[in-house]
Symmetry: C3
């Protein structure tokens, strides 16, 4: 399964410097690679390793190649982004090596006669596909996946075991959904129907029907145990190439803009719009009905309660320090208004004395 | 499937003003509704739309109706809570339109001969029901649901795909449990059995058996991927009409009072009691062994470490601001005690000078 | 199923004081136990209950036994850790009472012919075991569990319903994994391949293949809906006897040291190393690429952004207070640098006056 540099350049671009017919069959770090392996230089501080590596070839950026003393006897694929190139080649070798699951429907799967499944799709054991669902070309549904009524899973999407997609949703081409994720559960909406106050309060919560769906764009990845609720009326929308980590919660009628990345354990309340190219840190919480501009970065563990309409980095998290130190100082946050008043009083006294006494 | 205003008033109450025989077949906003649709006025600021709407009828509160110029040629159902009325009617139309799953047990489901399943229940594909479990009238268990030994699922409850309920639990009538939720997993309890300190510490954690169950009351809704642990000895209890969002964690032996609402990503440690009619915001954390009074509100992202014995709103969260601004100021929290001492010293100096110098 | 004190001492150690032939068939608190039950004294403040209990025998520490007035007619098992002893005996009675699931593979399970399943294993309904997987002696895989290609589940491990373990992972002996947990999902890694800034930014995220696995040590317990990602190259590692609560997220290439305990809703970003015997509180967030020493304690809701290289307790969380009080004071955190400057200015003024004016 070794490929020539020429083969790689034809697939992924880049200029070859050296012998285009050199064959590589895998990837390795510069200091560990052998003559049958491809290495890459992503960080210029390892440039000296390029001079001593035994790798069959090296992925390198033009600026770094220019700094090299001698290229004698070495082979390169020159590309502006060696790290992304590495990722693509690594995936290619995995795809070439992986046992291909044969197309078709496992006999233990339950597919409604009114569902439509492409012949090239791979439907695993115990999968359930309800009426009206459409499963595209080369889709992989792993064991125990459930696809609800009328839901579309588009070409080349891959749903790992135990994923649930409710009715009336759409998963875009090449999307990846990891195990335990739930797409299309009911949004959290209840109308209060109570009378009286305090202990005299009686009545109930009335469920607001959630009849929108979820639309997931192309090339989205959704982490394990992440949940994305269906909209109340219109759809919840995740645009193309959004990458969402594990244990993330996205409320009904949110829209997440293309290329945005959301790290693990973040939670986004309903009807919030997040722009394109945003980065939402781990365990960030974002209130409902707010808007984040394109290119907003929220650092880990911060809370967003209002719209952030300008690009930039936002924070509200404290880093842990010694418990004793924290308890001595942080408790005073509750009394900051009193500290401010004491400063104001001091300023007044000192000013008065200055004007009156001299 | 159109219904007259008379039909609706008979089901849901309200007084009809206008033609009781007008038929409506769906709902729409005031400014979009047509003559076959019902609209509603929940917010008085849209009152003028009632004068121009083409809706067949409008749900309206008595006070708002009184403010209307002319009712000429218009039809109303007058009700104190048009929003809750809307929600109930919307659910009715959905129920009338939805394809009814036929009662019975899907042939791929595995039902233990010692389990008891009502004839009107709908048991989906690949469901597993263990010995001694009892499934009530009209219960819906969707694909891949697992119900453990001796667990009761009471009438009209609906468990979405991939829900797991462990043994010895009870789910009340009309409860809704969304996909990925886990009810009755072991509480987190271990007895330390270690000797020695620091690097010399040896021994192990001994699991405390968790032999209580979980009792979920009537009309409870539980979100996707929410987890509720079984009690150590007595049950973990979720009282009637509690509404729990996605990704919430409730520890062993908690009790959550009736009508309380818990937003997504909240976590409640073991043996904590939450009162009735509380509102727990998203990503709130509540320590173990504390008590929250009835009518307590905790705002999103706050942490509760002690009992809150009075009704009211509680907070400990900071909203995100520009990263630079935050770093300049928030880092000083660690030194608040020193700032307080400097203020105290200044006060002493100024006071001494005042008494000594003038 | 009653056992003599002698039987218990032979299994679990301890010295018998009194009649070794007394039989007990269960456990109960001191004030509720009858003559056929075993009670335990874990907290010395209940010592007086030992004098009045009707329990058949009492688990007690040597120091507490010494304080007792009379042992006349009473029976004891004396052990340094009565609570841990209680937990072990409780588990024993449960194991004796529980209906043993018969060994074997349920006919609805799908086991690849190239997988290897021990004859003593209990494989539940709708379980899926892929090629090359190895299931050890007495392993229990409950309903709907999915075990990927080449994954090993070692002896006496118990995976509850709806657990997913991806390919190429290892679960150690006696491990317990609760429902909804996902082991071995892809780590969250993407190479940015963009050009241009702001609105002119074009390109995409390139997925970094995640080809490491997850190694879970012996006696680990993993809570419901917890997710542990596979490593990018090397494995993510959870060492022996680590106890992890529900809804925890552990990123790729983390290592969690032996005997460490992680409470619910905690999140640990990738490539972080946590020492042995640590305690990570509920909803704690830990950044990627940091190191926590052995014996580090992080209190609930705190955030860790840097390495903590000394044992001890660390904190960054605020407890909730009245919303009004919080809003009045906490908002000032954003202006702490200005408060500090005002104090500095006051100090300068006062000092100048002291030296110049008197």
């Amino acid at each position: 399964m070794a490929l020539t540099l020429e083969d790689l350049a034809q697939r992924f671009g880049g200029d070859i410097v050296g012998d285009a017919n050199v064959r590589v069959g895998g990837l390795a770090p510069l200091d560990q690679a052998n003559a049958q392996q491809l290495a890459f230089l992503a960080n210029p501080k390892y440039l000296s390793q390029v001079e001593t590596t035994r790798a069959g070839a090296v992925l390198i950026a033009p600026a770094d190649l220019a700094k090299l003393g001698s290229r004698e006897g070495r082979n390169f694929i020159v590309t502006p982004n060696p790290y992304a190139y590495f990722a693509r080649v690594a995936q290619l070798f995995i795809d070439l090596a992986a046992p291909k699951a044969p197309a078709g429907v496992h006999p233990s799967a339950i597919v409604d006669p009114l569902a439509q499944v492409a012949a090239s799709a791979v439907i695993g054991p115990h999968v359930v596909i309800e009426a009206g669902a459409v499963i595209g070309e080369r889709v992989r549904l792993d064991a125990n996946v459930v696809v609800g009524r009328g839901t579309r899973i588009e070409e080349d999407a891959h749903l790992y075991p135990n994923v649930t997609v409710y009715y009336g949703c759409k998963i875009g081409p090449r999307a990846i959904v990891h195990s335990g994720a739930v797409i299309g559960s009911d949004g959290f909406g209840f109308a209060p129907d109570f009378v009286g106050e305090g202990d005299a309060r009686t009545g109930t919560w009335v469920k607001i029907p959630q009849v929108g769906g979820v639309t997931i764009g192309p090339d989205v990845e959704i982490g394990a145990s992440t949940t994305i609720d269906r909209g109340a009326m219109a759809d919840t929308v995740i645009e193309e190439c959004v990458k969402i980590d594990n244990q993330v919660q996205i409320g009904h009628n949110c829209r997440v803009g293309a290329y945005t990345v959301i790290a693990g354990c973040a939670g986004i309340a309903g009807s919030t719009t997040i722009g394109r190219h945003c980065m939402i840190g781990g365990a960030v919480g974002i209130a409902g009905h707010v808007t984040l501009a394109d290119h907003v970065i929220v650092t880990a563990k911060s809370g967003v309660s209002k719209s952030l309409l300008k690009p930039g980095m936002y924070t509200s998290a404290f880093p842990a320090v010694s418990h004793l130190e924290w308890n001595k100082s942080a408790a005073l946050v509750r009394h900051l208004d009193k500290m401010r008043e004491r400063i104001k009083a001091l300023e007044a006294t000192v000013a008065e004395r200055a004007s009156g006494g001299e």
